[in-house]
């Protein structure tokens, strides 16, 4: 279980990383924390000719803010968010989510941007960032920097709109008001394992924003707008039957057990959010 030989390039800045990525000789991959790519390299499922290490690239480690957003450099580590070393636009949700990602050793290395680009359906950030309506800043050589909302970024399991040569540089998370209600619930067999079901709910009445997102399905996170709207209006926890009916509409192929787990996770997510209000 050792990787195929590869060339390792440590990039000093985004331009040099993008430059290496745009070369046409062989397959180049970006590595940040390496917590997903590492095992895939060792299992020889990923066999790149070249790795560009961006874990220490200063521009990707930078965090800036405006009145409306916090922009997290893509190489911000889970543990930094967990430990409150970064500004928190999410009224506590981001540190909470970060603290539940895998194990501390993984959180010490793993990055926000790396997790989003890897796009594992059972990962936490793809669901949490969808719920928080994040925007991704993507750059490449010879093209304009583009912005894409998280809801459009992930296309399916391990699939995103990231084109060859593109680098995710930062993640813009809107600042939520102190009236914000959020919940995050995941069902795992074991602490630290990938989840069987994740539900996130974020509602900020000052923005008329309410979004429910289901993660750990078979593809990209599922956004349940109808339920979210009703919930924001009534504040009533939806019944299992209502949730299951809604799920059937969106994911008719869900088996009975998974359907039930999502429904339960949704109820618990909302209950927890309302209890914390």
């Amino acid at each position: 279980m050792k990787p195929v030989a590869f060339e390792l390039c440590i990039s000093a800045d985004i331009a040099s990383a993008a430059g290496i990525l745009s070369q046409n000789d062989g397959d180049t991959k970006i590595i940040a924390g390496g917590q997903s790519l590492g095992p895939m390299l060792n299992l020889r499922l990923a066999r790149p000719d070249r790795l560009v290490d961006v874990a220490q690239t200063p521009a990707l480690r930078k965090i800036t803010q405006t009145q409306a957003f916090v922009a997290f450099g893509a190489a911000t580590r889970h543990a930094e968010i967990e430990d409150g070393k970064t500004p928190d636009p999410s009224c506590g949700m981001m540190p909470y989510v970060a603290s539940g990602i895998a194990y501390r050793a993984i959180r010490n290395k793993g990055t926000l941007g790396g997790s989003l680009c890897h796009a594992d359906p059972a990962a936490d950030w793809v669901t949490a960032m969808t719920a928080l309506n994040a925007t991704l800043i993507i750059t490449s050589v010879g093209k304009d920097t583009r912005k894409t909302p998280m809801v459009e970024f992930m296309q399916g399991a391990y699939r995103t709109t990231l084109e060859p040569g593109e680098i995710l540089t930062s993640v813009l998370v809107p600042k939520y008001s102190d009236k914000t209600v959020w919940g995050y619930y995941k069902i795992c067999r074991k602490v630290g394992e990938f989840a069987d079901a994740i539900v996130a709910w974020v509602a900020d009445p000052t923005k008329q924003y309410s979004r429910i997102v289901l993660g750990a399905g078979s593809g990209a996170p599922l956004v349940l707008n109808h339920l979210a709207k009703e919930l924001a209006q009534t504040g009533n926890i939806p019944t299992l039957d209502i949730i299951k009916a809604e799920l059937k509409l969106h994911s008719p192929d869900l088996d009975q057990v998974k359907n039930h787990l999502f429904a339960i996770a949704l109820q618990r997510c909302v209950k927890g959010a309302l209890a914390n209000e």
Partner: protein, 781 residues
Amino acid sequence: MSTGIGARVQRKEDRRLLHGQAKFVGDLKFPKLWEAAYVRSPIAHGRIRSVQKPSAYSSQVFIADDLHDVLPIRAESSLPGYKPSDFHSLARDKVRYVGECIAICIAPTRAEAEDIAEQVILDIDPLPAVIDALKAREPQSELLHEDWGDNLFVETSFEGDIETAKRDATVVIEREYKTARQCMNPMEGKGTLSYWDERSNQLVVYTSTQVPHLIRTGISEFLQMDQGQVRVIAPDVGGGFGYKCVLQPEELTVSWVAKKTGRPIRWTEDRREHLVAGANTRQHHYKITAYADNNGKLLGLDADITVDVGAYSVWPFTACLEAAQAGGNLPGPYDIKGYRCNTYSVATNKPSFTPYRGVARPGVCFAMELTIDAIARAVGREPADVRKENLIAGSLMPYTTVTGKFYDSGDYPDSVVQAEKAVNLKGFRIRQAKARKEGRSLGIGFSTFTEQSAHGTKVFAAWGLPLVPGYEQAMVKLTPSGSVEVRSGNHSFGQGLETTIAQMASEWLTVDIKSINVVMGDTGMTPYSTGAYASRGMVMAGGAVSKAAEALSGRIKIHAAHLLQCEPTDIQLKNARAYNGHASVSFSSIAKAWYLRPDQLPDDVDTAGLEVTEGYKPDIDTGVFTYATHAAIVEVDKDTGKVDVQDYVVFEDCGKRVNPLILEGQTYGGAAQGIGTALFEEALYDANGQPLTSTLADYILPGPAELPHFRLSHKETLSPYTRHGIKGVGEGAAIAPGGAILNAINDALQPQKIEINELPATPHKILSALLAGAEAEREIT
């Protein structure tokens, strides 16, 4: 403070283990060392048409045709009808499981060796995979070993009187139970390093094993070498659990290549290899009919046990040890008169079955304990009460079971009484009723077992094994400095034997264990031992060290008596000094006199010296039995199927406790593994025999957050037949959790009338059963 028997002292070996100073096979450095990688079968069953070496690396790749002087691993057994299998260390003609070794590739680094392995071209004609052991028993099944005519390594039957029970029974319980296939997952995987040593004219094999002397015998037998030309050294070993108690094909091929190339060669198992090629244990199927009276008194038991053995028979423990243990131990601690049992050891396209901590008993205990609770539910009584009335009472000891197991001492029902007190059963029932009203599902489960330990010659001979452990030898020596050296051919692989056998010597010699150096695991330096397995270390190696240390204490007294001008019988040993009244002489002075200044000793000095090798065998040959009751309280989350173990109690009687601290550690570890068996671990396969759980993201082991706070208590009923009354205990705690936890789950789900009879009880299984139950209810109403 004494560091002898019973002392709660910290482990000697932990200083190096906890400071990263231990030396495992992977830590060894040799000049010119190359690493090995294996080409392993990608399919479960197939006929090999060709294996093609990459031409650029033909001198770095070895296949079955190269190993013409290596005999297949073949474990004979004298059990009637037993069919031995030829397990080629590199597959020849056929492959029979995913992960079977086909070629060994060597290179300066493992990565380069893997690069070469990728270039070996396999042409294999796939055959239908035999995955289900029950279907494999059917006549139309595909065959693994065509010349057998069926897929049975062996079939045994025990025909007791079941007809009386059938006639008298008013309650009949029929159940099927299943236990999942598992991997043992020691923290350190298997590793082996061999080189040819010109000076000693020996093949030196460093290997991560529990049984260095057995591996020496095995290597010499299958590589056709004189045993004098093989030295096996087990360095620090990071856990064994049985995985490292058999000869592995990699030990043969690495040794062969090292001998052939004159280069040190190492193979280090990685976790994926372990989870694929090491998925080799625990998988049983039971069909049980229990006959009882209206009070739940068990009158008879009729059982069919199928063991999913996998492709080949391991050496030396054979493919029938598991089923033999299962059939013989199913009645366990219960007073049963009527017993009939058939066992089937079935060949399937999976890795070869290897005995794992508890050997068969986690399965039989699970089956038996769930049956007891099923009977209790059928007669409407508290399961703990039914259990107590069926267990062998202290007044019946010594007791010979229906299958001939000889229990020398103990009070089995009392262990349930003690566990009941510890969990406060009556109080729990009140809490449970209250919780049920709130919609919560709490349950309690008990599980009682006996642990056969230190099996002697007769037991193993009865299983027809090729090698039979008998006595155990140890050497104990007073060094010229007055410190003590102990040498044992057994091994310490995390179970604390390095400390506890030092305690045995300390008991007689009064030397602090800090001054007792223990040498184990090296066949060049220690007396022959069949090794560390079957909970035999403390009783057997401990017994041998105790006996040798006692003899050495006698010799020390002879010389001390001369130096103190008295009779040896006047001498008392204390704090590494020999006393005659107030006059005393230190061990170092005694040792100095013997080794360096014999002029201080009389002309007719006893020249036997201060080095003693003694052999030891318990007074009986049939093994000694520890027993225990575990009790678990769980809460089942009916919405997710998740099980939270809220309380876990162990009451155990293992005779004399040599080191209570180590015993507690052993119990925690064993119970944790048992909880893995109960709730988490399963090696899954698809219909083609492809493993579905080849990483630790798929094969779930419990972590600290999944484990309860274990509460332990003990009593000591000494065995009349072993030195110091010790009974073996290393495996025990892994045996009971499946029974205790599943009984607790089934107790919790009684209002829903749900019974889970399969290990592990995953959330998915429990939730599926609950949803199916709810659906059925909806249809009725």
